[in-house]
């Protein structure tokens, strides 16, 4: 066993002395697909290396908790100003600010808890979807609310509603209907947004009935 674990494939890697970036010399005897996978892996590794270097002395990622509060504060600030912009109906500005916040949240280092990123991004995407919808940009709203719902499925009624709403606006009633039903199952009819969802369901059903009746 011990001998088995020492067996490995040696790759002729090249370390750039200045940037410490690793690369695979192109002359090596790998197949094309292998080369691409190795190269993508090396890219990731280099990226991670850069992230590690920027850390403090032992240059190892800290344990997932507690989280560095600086970034969270920045994101919150951005979100607040975006909310303010939205409330002033400055939708384009709101979208821009939300986008910044999302980018910031996405660039959190990988070793921070994923649940944190999910929660943060679920809210941000839902809000950006809202800002998009205010401009009748349904596809953008759809994609964002989808991302939000995917980030956080339970307790995210608003995103569910927006998702279905966008679909209904784009006349994709069947999809909207099945999503509302799913949302109702997950969130429960008695939850906060349950009423709105039921209302939307009725609208969608009416819309679905219409072509059949005509």
């Amino acid at each position: 066993m011990a001998s088995e674990i020492d067996i490995y494939n040696q790759y002729p890697l090249h370390l750039d002395p200045a940037s410490k970036a690793l690369s695979l010399p192109s002359s090596s005897a790998q197949t094309a697909t292998q080369t691409t996978t190795i190269n993508t892996e090396l890219q990731e590794l280099n990226q991670l290396h850069r992230a590690l270097i920027s850390l403090d002395s032992p240059n190892i990622p800290p344990p997932p908790l507690p989280v560095n509060p600086k970034r969270s504060a920045q994101i919150t600030k951005l979100r607040d100003s975006a909310n303010a912009a939205y409330r002033k109906s400055n939708n384009a500005e709101a979208v821009r600010l939300y986008t910044y916040a999302i980018e910031m949240a996405l660039s959190r280092p990988g070793w921070e808890p994923v649940t944190l990123a999910r929660d943060e991004l679920a809210g941000l995407y839902a809000n950006r979807a809202q800002a998009h919808m205010a401009q009748q940009a349904w596809p953008e709203g759809l994609v964002d609310s989808k991302a939000s719902v995917d980030s956080k499925g339970v307790g995210n009624v608003k995103a569910w509603w927006r998702l279905a709403k966008c679909l209904a606006e784009m006349t994709r009633y069947e999809e909207a209907r099945s999503l509302v039903l799913k949302a109702l199952e997950i969130e429960g009819r008695e939850s906060d947004g349950g009423k709105e969802l039921s209302g939307l369901l009725e609208d969608v059903d009416r819309a679905l009935e219409r072509p059949a009746a005509s």
């Binding site: 190795i38 892996e41 190892i60 990622p61 809210g123 006349t171 799913k182 219409r210």
Partner: protein, 268 residues
């Protein structure tokens, strides 16, 4: 004088019988041994591990053409080790999720025995691998071994999550394009309906559906977005900051959703 011929017959029979049995059993054993030896590994080659080891063994001579090339810096090795741990976590999680199902399938006779053997071998290998990573980590920084897999786990999950988000966002262009086309066709249909309304002719089938689409579209969506839409929106936005405020407080990662909404994707 012994009758050799009559003695040869039973001897030959015995020979054939024993010989064929021996052949059968040796064939069976050989086949079994070959199978056990050639069991495919459960996972493909462990690229991250290979890279890590390659770095460890990176001969200074190979890079020393220029100067007295430095050995690979620790930080690079640490990064490589972290990548290796991430891949390990992925594999360990995969094994863990497969174990129960595989045991059940084996019991039911839905999979073969050798799959189980391969699985057990993979499990054992992963155990050794994890132990090795922990000891390596401790060698770089004391006690890192205790947290490296925590970090790796989050890195893995973050990675998966970001990929999914990326996937959603990558559909934007397609959706946008579709909607532009669709909107155009709806408007066209609407215009046609206006024209036809004035000329008083009944449209053909296609035009008719288009117009009906438009009519119910306008009938439902416009009031919805103007009345109910704005109402709800107001409510929802008001609720937004309050709802999302607790999110940044890191100590309470509220139980994220288990729902996976895949309907839209399924349609793809």
């Amino acid at each position: 004088m012994v009758d050799w011929l009559s003695l040869a017959v039973p001897l030959a029979y015995l020979g054939v019988l024993l010989g064929s049995l021996a052949t059968f059993s040796s064939l069976y054993r050989k086949r079994k041994a070959r199978k056990a030896a050639s069991l495919e590994p459960w996972f493909p080659a462990h690229l991250q591990r290979d890279i890590y080891f390659s770095l460890l063994h990176l001969e200074p001579s190979s890079t020393s053409k220029e100067k007295k090339a430095p050995a690979v810096p620790d930080s690079v090795l640490k990064a490589a080790l972290l990548r290796r741990a991430t891949e390990d976590i992925r594999r360990v999680l995969a094994l863990r999720s497969q174990k129960q199902a595989l045991a059940m399938l084996l019991q039911r006779g839905s999979v073969g025995d050798d799959l189980w053997q391969r699985f057990q071998r993979a499990e054992k290998e992963m155990e050794d691998e994890v132990r090795d990573v922990v000891s390596e980590a401790n060698a770089y920084t004391p006690n890192w071994g205790q947290t490296i897999f925590q970090s790796a786990n989050e890195m893995l999950n973050n990675d998966i999550y970001r990929k999914r988000i990326e996937e959603h966002q990558s559909k934007l262009a397609e959706e946008r394009q579709w909607w532009d086309k669709k909107k155009a066709s709806i408007q066209e249909g609407f215009m046609k309906e206006l024209d036809e309304g004035s000329s008083g002719t009944t449209g053909n089938g296609a035009a008719q559906t288009a117009t009906t689409t438009k009519t119910f579209e306008t009938a439902t969506s416009l009031p919805a977005s103007s009345v109910q839409g704005s109402d709800d929106d107001a409510v929802l936005v008001e609720a937004d900051p309050s709802a999302s405020q607790p999110a940044p407080t890191p100590a309470t990662p509220s139980g994220g959703g288990g729902g996976k909404k895949k309907k839209g994707k399924g349609k793809k």
